[in-house]
Each structure stands twice: as C-alpha cells, then as structure tokens.
C-alpha cells in the first residue's frame, strides 16, 4: 500500500463519513453510548477499589497489654512486630491516651466518670493496633503473636489479650466478601464490555449493510479489497474519535453533578476529582476502545460483502 492509496483512502473515508448524514450521526450516538458504558465501568471500578481500601483500613488486630506492662517492653514488642513481612503498620496507644479517649467518649455520662474516679488508678492497659498488608494475612500475624512469648523482666506475660480471635469471624467474612466482590466485579465488567462491543458491532454492521451494493460495484470496477476496505475503516475510526470526544466532554458536567451529590455518601470518593486527576488515562482508554471498536467493527462487517 503506497502513500497515494493511503491518502486517498483517508480522504474517501472522511467524505463517506461526512456524507453519511443520519447513518453517521446514529453510529456516533451508539458508539458514544458504548463508550459511556465503558467510562462508567472505569468509575465503578475506581469506586470499588476505593471502598475496598476503605473497608480494609477498618480492619486490624489489637494487642492489649496488662496495666503493669512497661513502655520499654511494649516498644520492644512493637519493633519485633514491625519486622514481620505481613505487617503494614503498627500504632502504639499509651495507657494515658486510652484513659483520655475513654473520658472523652463518655464525657456526658457522669455515672461512668464517677465510677472511674472511684477506682483511683488508671484501669486501662496500653495497646498496639496492627494493620496487615492484606486482610488474609491477619490469621498468620495472630498465630505468630500467640507463639511469640512477650514477657516482662519478671517473666510474666505482658499481653492481656489479642482481639483477633474475637474479630476472626468478621475479618474472615470481610476477606471473603472482598474476594467475591472482586471476582463478581470482574465478571460484570466483562459482561458489560461484551454487551457494549456487540452493540457497537451491530451498529457499524448496519451502517455498512446500507453500502453493500456500493461495495459490490467497487469490486466490479476493479477495486482491490484493501482499497475498498480502507475508507470504511477510516470512517469507523472517525466515529470512534468523535464518540470519545463526545463522552469526554459530557463527563465534565455529569461527573461534577454526581460528585457534588454523592461525595458524602461514598466515604469521601469524589467522582469529579477522580475524573480530573485521571483525565489522560481515561482519554487513552476511551480513545483506544473507540478507535479499535470502530475499526474492528468495520473490518468484520465489510468482510462478507467483499466475496463478489
């Protein structure tokens, strides 16, 4: 294929598209809807990831210490735990902070505060909050903690309790829910993508069906298959580009409106902020999808009419 043929095919493709009238407009509209679905999947996927991260962040193992445990022993244990490969972070909360938090939480409940005063001494022990890199790793962290003796200088255990056992069922369920949501989300994404591709294919096929006689004539006047196919592919690519631009422009007001209405409900996830901060990657995904869909649909649709 030489430059002259390429130039002619691009020119003819553009003319075909421009002169296609209602058929071209309808194809762009359907392609816009298809890319709109793909873009909503991008946002859904981002929202899912954000929510999963948020939920994950709520899970931890908390190790409570006896009131007699010294800060030195606790910090030594903290350093040991931080070295575990499954551990993402360890936070230390002192006895005094626990007491202050308790007082603040029950600031309006005089009965409890009076009961606390009567005890005289701080009844709370310090604790360590441990976060794992992955929810599935809490089990192994808990096992490691149980088999690692944390003793004071006097030889007594400084750990009062590890609350993983108590939260084990919740953590397990959450881990399973995350796994199911991930695979379920993937299946939904694939189904939507397939449906979108089929809609786009059917539309482009319909547009090319209207030109099937024309394709036959081109064959009879001596045009090669490549020369006939070229302009249709170019028109498909133009459709994809225009649909991408339409979706990108339409997403600004839509994402802004949805963002302002839902940011409070989605644990701080703002769809508009996500769109503006990921604009170029979304542009590339939509452009590649649009161009490939338009071009590929044209190739598949025209194939059957070239056997004359």
């Amino acid at each position: 294929m030489n430059t002259m043929s390429m130039r002619r095919m691009i020119g003819a493709g553009w003319k075909n598209f421009a002169r296609g009238g209602a058929v071209s407009v309808a194809t762009v509209v359907i392609m816009t809807v298809t890319l709109g679905i793909i873009s909503s999947l991008i946002f859904l996927s981002a929202l899912l990831s954000f929510t999963l991260d948020f939920v994950r962040d709520q899970v931890d193992i908390s190790v409570s210490f006896v009131t007699t445990a010294s800060e030195h022993d606790i910090l030594a244990l903290k350093s040991k735990i931080e070295l575990l490969p499954q551990v993402k972070s360890v936070t230390y909360t002192t006895r005094e902070q626990v007491l202050a938090d308790f007082r603040a939480f029950h600031a309006t409940d005089q009965t409890i505060l009076q009961g606390l005063e009567q005890l005289g001494d701080n009844p709370f022990g310090a604790y360590l909050g441990i976060k794992a890199k992955d929810p599935s790793q809490y089990e192994s962290i808990s096992s490691t903690l149980e088999t690692t003796p944390a003793l004071s200088a006097g030889g007594a255990s400084i750990i009062d309790r590890i609350n993983y056992k108590q939260n084990k069922i919740t953590i397990d369920n959450l881990s399973k829910a995350i796994a199911v949501t991930r695979s379920g989300g993937l299946i939904i994404v694939i189904l939507f993508a397939l449906a979108s591709v089929m809609i786009a294919l059917a539309t482009v096929q319909l547009a090319i069906y209207t030109a099937k006689d024309e394709i036959g004539v081109m064959r009879l006047v001596g045009a090669s298959n490549a020369y006939i196919r070229g302009p249709f592919i170019v028109a498909g690519v133009i459709t994809g580009i225009l649909a991408t631009l339409a979706v990108l422009i339409a997403l600004f007001p839509i994402a802004w409106y949805i963002g302002t209405k839902t940011a409070g409900l989605l644990n701080g996830f703002n769809i508009f902020s996500y769109y503006t901060s990921h604009f170029f990657i979304i542009l590339i995904i939509l452009l590649v999808s649009g161009v490939c869909l338009g071009g590929l649909a044209s190739i598949l649709a025209i194939r059957r009419y070239l056997k004359v």
Partner: protein, 225 residues
C-alpha cells in the same frame, strides 16, 4: 479474445445457461438478445467472474477466468468496463468522483485523473454536471456517467447489461451512439438487450439466446426471436 467453452450454469434445478460455446473477437460489437430468463445476464456475470460456471470454462485471452483467485480478480476486472441497467453508481460520490474512483482503484496518479476525467465528462456530454450526485441526475445522465466510468481506464472490453433498459428513446439513442463510438475507437463491446430498435441501430453481430442456449448467431444480424 473471449471464449465460452461449453459453459453451463445451474441454480438448483434451474438451468440458466446450458452448454454455451461462443467466441468474441477483438473489436467486435456483439448484441446478445433473448427473452427475460434466456440466460443473457448470467452469461455476462460468468464473464465478469461474479459467478462460477457449473460446467465448462470461460477464457479471456489466455486466462481461464474460473481459476482466478478472489484476491486477484480486481486485476482481471480492470480489463473490462461494465455498464448495468440500473447504472450502479456510488450514491455518495459525485459524477466526477464516480468516474475518478475507477482510475483511483486502478492506481492511476492524481495528474492522470485530473486530465482524463474532464475529458470523459466532455465525451459523455456531462461536463456541467460533474459535481452532481447520482440522485441529482436523470436516468440517461446516470447511464452516461456509468459509461464514462466503464471506459475511463481504456479497457479492452466494455460489457453492457441492458444498458438502455431504464431509458427513454432519446437517451437510448444517445447511449447506443456512445457505445458505437467506443467500438469504433477499437474497444470490444458486448451488450445484452431486448430492444429491437437498439439491435437494429447497431446493425452488427447478434447472438440470440433462448432457455440458456445459443439458438442463433448472425454476423450482421437482426432482432429475431
């Protein structure tokens, strides 16, 4: 130049063409006549390799047309200019672009196109309609554009399937005159028709078909059914 060797074409039980043997020499003007369903159009479709024969072979010069692969058919078809009863112009191209398309498809340069297309438009007397789309042209004008497209690449043969079938007498006369002129310039012309006036205006070889068979072949024939 063209040789049909015992060519048959069957569609199920229907025998559209049956054991036709026919040769056409260079620069001949052959009119193929017959009732509807006599097999005239099928014979042309076999020559254009739109159909494969059920039996026999079609030769163009030394090429067995039936042996051509789909991927090289376009090279063969560039040797033949084709005119149809329903014109078959490309609807979203102007008169100029319809003619130019055949040159572009054959890989001719922009300079050749810019020089030859206006000349052909003059020849078919449609220079003033160069930028009209087919739906802005009358039937006669569309057929003249189709003839222009058929001859633009100076093919060795022009095949016209009922070229005057949709035209009034005046346009019919003009089309026949153009085809005669093309033949006088050295191009072989094969037309199918039922129009007695057309055959007699041409006054050249007439091949008569009936029920898929050649029943008469007169060198300077008249329309006899």
């Amino acid at each position: 130049m063209i040789y049909f060797d015992k060519v048959s074409k069957h569609y199920g039980e229907t025998k559209a063409v049956e054991e036709v043997t026919l040769s056409v020499a260079p620069k001949e003007f052959v009119s193929i006549v017959g009732h509807s369903g006599a097999g005239k159009t099928t014979l042309l479709r076999l020559l254009l390799a739109e159909e494969k024969p059920t039996g026999g072979s079609v030769f163009f010069e030394s090429i067995n047309v039936n042996d051509l692969p789909l991927s090289s058919l376009h090279h063969y078809r560039r040797k033949i200019g084709t005119v149809f009863q329903d014109f078959k112009l490309i609807p979203n191209k102007t008169a100029y672009e319809n003619i130019a398309f055949a040159m572009e498809a054959a890989g001719r340069t922009d300079a050749e196109i810019a020089s030859d297309v206006p000349y052909i438009l003059e020849l078919v007397n449609l220079a003033d309609k160069a930028h009209n789309f087919p739906n802005q042209l009358s039937g006669g004008e569309q057929q003249r554009i189709a003839i222009g497209r058929a001859i633009i690449n100076q093919p060795e043969v022009v095949v016209a399937d009922e070229p005057t079938g949709n035209l009034d007498p005046i346009n019919t006369f003009e089309v026949v005159e153009i085809l005669k002129k093309i033949n006088e310039l050295g191009t072989t012309v094969i037309i199918t028709t039922h129009n007695k006036g057309v055959v007699e205006a041409i006054g050249r070889r007439v091949v008569t078909m009936d029920r898929g068979k050649v029943v008469r072949d007169d060198i300077s024939g008249k329309y006899v059914l």
